[in-house]
Symmetry: C2
Subunit: 392 residues, 2 copies
């Protein structure tokens, strides 16, 4: 018999698996049109370009070896150039830290920036992967609601005026997961001002910013203050298999993260990081590629939102889906989305109930719909099935 | 001004960067024959086989997508087969968990198994990457010395009889880093017995076990008890860039690690994990490849140990280098290896002083020498330079 030590027993009881992951398992049947997932479309990922870059990368044997904890040099150089353009200031390589997807950046940052009991402010509804990390760090969580213009900065101000002193405020600034909205520029500036006035860090988590459909995303919150640590990722525009995320953060934060990265997993893969560097540096190709992803996701989003509105009228209020991967819809007729889900699955479709993302509010009349992996006709069929489940 | 929050300031002050890494930076000059590193030889890594496997892997677009937190299914299957053969019992896939190198296994296990203040027993001298993780988890560390037959189980017994109750005992069972020695079979059985009697976990950290020169490594400690969690890695036999490590652990430990992996970085790369699966499943090729690495490392080890003994005689006692990547040598003439190092660098060679790995003893007359990345003639030249530094 191997020992069940108290910490293991407690951790197994206490840690909560991602509700989304459990649902995904449930709804992976072939006859279900899944809108519950949160995956980019593998059919749109640049397989041939990745194959070519991999072959080229392997010409140099140093790509087989261990690399620097902070990331493969050439990738950090490319990212420094891109982030300088995005932030409107020269970003030195020392302020770029490559992580194993941006989830690892969240995880390492929570270790560097948070003591147990520290206050973290998240958006409500929240990105579940961030909540999981902040809870595991023993943080106290307060939630600020979102509206169509992003995080309600008035609610954050109120919380600060009540005397709350967050160590970190987390925001998914563009095409929020799950809420679909983008923070408007005025609020970005106001959030940055508050961060400086009240001496907290903002983690601006931006995996979706490049997936805009009609007009580019606003200037990053990070362009307004050095108190903002910006996270981004190649997973949504290139491929998750590259496991390439990165942060832009002050040098001393990067050095703290570096020490933790050494303990966490030593370093990333020089090979997949070189491939990422190659693709991100190939401007003409990248523009074409991302334009194509934008166009196709945009058509899908439009089909989904159009069908929801056409079939459900004023029974539902849905986001416009101006970018990203998700539509958020609220039933106005009292439908409970957790109750509806089993019937939806019976009728051959699935979504994630709002309650899975809830922090303070319950979001029992809301749902998240992912439009990335089905074509327009299939999305319309999914809405038909949803309506059948509602009326069935 | 961005805020210097107390946890960040404290962590930056408190965390210690790996002494080895700092040294590596110092001794990467082209005119230095570096024996200080701990890297496998990139020239021996199977670049062309990796290139072919990558091309084949990319034929399936699912290798571009996110994968399971526990690892890409086909890799877990291959590992379950290999570990069943190694452990002499059927290992189900549920007991295989793929990590981002075995360093990540150490890191996630320390979170699952250890509370702050828990006792961890390590070997002295110790693998620095393990020490770093256990210290970061807030563990109390006790050290048990090594001798030519591996961990001194009599010293561990004494500690247990004194009433110490470790949560975890960590051992590098084969070709210890830095100490070069392998734990003999009797001690393996005795360690497993103690683990069951005193209800602690053993983490058997085995990245070097396949790199034996004359005869295969003994049965794993994990073959004697389910209280032993076995870690291994593809970094030393294939290539670190694959970032493929794994653990064999009871199902409930794997499920605890899985929840933490979701928060830490979601999942690994389906692409590099498929490449790893492909190479590890190609038995005939793998046998040839590993045989070649063994033969070449064996020749280098022999050249290094031979030169040390020929040039320094009884001024030094060195391990035999029966496998792995390192030779450990103790000066018998009072030479302080930390004092000697700057002179060695002046004379064009470098090693890691024993003190870098010390837990309880000081190892000031010891040094670790890595023989993997230089040929026999270069290693002999390095010893000439070391002798010149000693006598200079």
């Amino acid at each position: 018999m191997s020992p069940i030590t108290p910490p293991l027993a407690r951790r197994l009881a206490g840690l909560r698996s991602s509700a989304i992951r459990d649902l995904l398992t449930l709804t992976s049947r072939a006859d279900i049109i899944g809108l519950a997932g949160g995956l980019p479309d593998a059919q749109l990922m640049p397989r041939d370009r990745i194959a070519r870059a991999t072959e080229e990368a392997l010409a140099d044997r140093s790509r087989l070896q261990y690399t620097e904890s902070a990331g493969w040099g050439p990738l950090r150089e490319v990212l420094a150039g891109r982030e300088s353009a995005r932030l409107g200031r020269p970003v030195p390589v020392e302020e770029i830290f490559v992580t194993h997807g941006s989830q690892q950046a969240l995880s390492l940052l929570s270790e560097v920036l948070l003591d147990p009991g520290a206050l973290v402010v998240v958006e409500d509804p929240a990105y579940v992967g961030a909540l999981q990390v902040f809870r595991a760090a023993g943080a106290r969580i307060e939630a600020v609601p979102l509206d169509a213009d992003g995080m309600r900065i008035d609610a954050l101000s109120e919380l600060l005026e009540r005397g709350e002193r967050p160590a970190v405020v987390h925001t998914v600034s563009n095409f929020h997961n799950p809420r679909g909205v983008t923070m408007v520029s005025d609020r970005r500036r106001a959030l940055a001002d508050l961060a400086e006035r009240y001496n907290f860090w903002v983690i601006e988590d931006d995996p979706y910013g490049e997936l805009w459909f009609d007009r580019p995303s606003p200037e990053p919150v990070a362009s307004y203050s050095p108190n903002v640590i910006r996270l981004s990722s190649a997973s949504k525009i290139l491929a998750p298999t590259l496991r390439a995320g990165w942060m832009v953060a002050p040098d001393r934060v990067c050095r703290g993260v570096e020490l933790l990265k050494q303990g966490a997993d030593l370093c990333g893969s020089a090979l997949t990081q070189q491939v990422t560097a190659d693709l991100l540096a190939d401007d003409a190709w990248l523009t074409d590629h991302v334009d194509k992803v934008r166009r196709i996701y945009g058509e899908r989003a439009e089909a989904l939102v159009g069908a929801l509105r056409a079939r459900l009228g004023d029974r539902i209020v849905s986001t416009d889906a101006a970018g990203g991967m998700f539509v958020w819809a609220d039933f106005t007729d009292g439908t409970d989305t957790a109750d509806l889900l089993p019937r939806a699955v019976e009728h051959g479709t699935a979504y994630v109930p709002g309650s899975a993302f809830a922090v303070s509010a319950d979001y029992r009349h809301s749902m998240r719909l992912c439009f990335t992996t089905s074509d327009a006709a299939t999305l319309r069929e999914a809405v038909d099935r949803l309506v059948a489940a509602l009326d069935g």
